[in-house]
Symmetry: C2
Subunit: 194 residues, 2 copies
DNA sequence: TGAAATAATTGACCACGGTCATAATTACGA
DNA sequence: TCGTAATTATGACCGTGGTCAATTATTTCA
């Protein structure tokens, strides 16, 4: 049986998404309430859950889209050739991911796919990041004794670590990036150590 | 003004903790309900929140204690001298952390301290892990071109990465450990690569 | 010992995510 | 154009974490 999606349904979904983005723009991600969205959009609460599995799924969608936009930016321009350029290129991404504690939590929760068949938007951006980073590594002036994909996964691991530590009250945004650089220096250019 | 804690209060808190552990033992961490605990313990719901900031704080306490016990085990015996021994020594810890999706989420949420002054139990175990691991690294046959503490932080980052990827339906427990080993090989013994 | 001060407990109440039987709307064949 | 089936929307309702003014228990001290 082929399910026919009615035009009405598509419009409702679009309206919910639009409203969600407005609410988020106004009050931030963590303050987003399903009840506020449905009230603002003028639909019943049940309608929301007919369109999105749960609140987290909506967040996955919206945050995933934001990350993708930032990855688009990161892909533009000449490939980073060294450590500083690499760290700099990833700064907007990490800044967004740490702009709210709630965002970081959602991202970590969705960074691994729940089911093989259905990889969520955020999990897809993680895979995309690996692809992009390993291409940079292949062309740039980095360690060559291990596979680029493995190196890229390491970059991701260190980025998560630096971001997680950022949420200690002691650490600020600047420390996050410099810590990240320290990690990558040891990871990507081991021979350059003194 | 010195706040005096009454004996009654200490007993109530102990009863809540005991009951919580029983409930968890019976149904798992993720299925733990505050309402079930207070009902079983025979106290009002408000009493629970007079003793613990929120449900997460209780989890922080109980899971932190469990991790500490596993770290005690890991500290015993001769220090791991090579990669295989290191990975093997950390297996019980990683197995516990990934035994439930909910546990891993709680751990990640608490791995960074929220406030400088008050570092929670789980965050403390993360610091303790760094100390233990860097001592192993100092004595064992591992890379010496960077500080042991930095290397230890990397181990933690890769462990988290391996555990996060474990929750993809595709990956099983065995893959988690072998993936972890692959990471550590590139991280701890870069010169050994072909 | 009794009354005031402090500590601990209570449970009705709220917030908010999520469910589901029912109703309304739309699509489609005759 | 009507009747029927499929799709979508509705909102009362539930589960559960968390709050707080009121009540009860305990301590202090004259």
């Amino acid at each position: 049986m082929i399910k026919q999606t009615q035009k009405r349904s598509i419009e409702t979904r679009a309206k919910l998404l639009r409203t969600a983005k407005e609410v988020i723009a106004a009050h931030g991600y963590g303050a987003m309430r399903v009840e506020e969205i449905v009230k603002t959009a003028g639909v019943a609460k049940g309608t929301f859950f007919a369109h999105f599995k749960d609140k987290d799924a909506l967040m996955d969608l919206i945050i995933g889209a934001e990350i993708n936009a930032l990855l688009d930016d990161a892909e533009n321009g000449t490939d980073p050739q060294n450590l500083d350029e690499l760290v700099l290129r990833l700064q907007p991404l990490m800044n967004f991911m740490t702009s709210e504690r709630y965002i970081f939590d959602v991202i970590v929760r969705h960074s691994g796919a729940a089911v093989k068949e259905e990889i969520g938007p955020i999990a897809q951006t993680f895979e995309r990041t690996i692809v992009i980073a390993s291409q940079w590594l292949a062309k740039g002036n980095f360690r060559k004794d291990v596979a680029d994909v493995l190196l890229a996964e390491g970059i991701q691991a260190f980025a998560v670590q630096a971001m997680a530590l950022h949420f200690c009250a002691i650490n600020n945004k600047e420390e996050m990036h410099s810590r990240f650089k320290t990690y990558l220096q040891a990871w990507l250019t081991p021979s350059s150590q003194t």
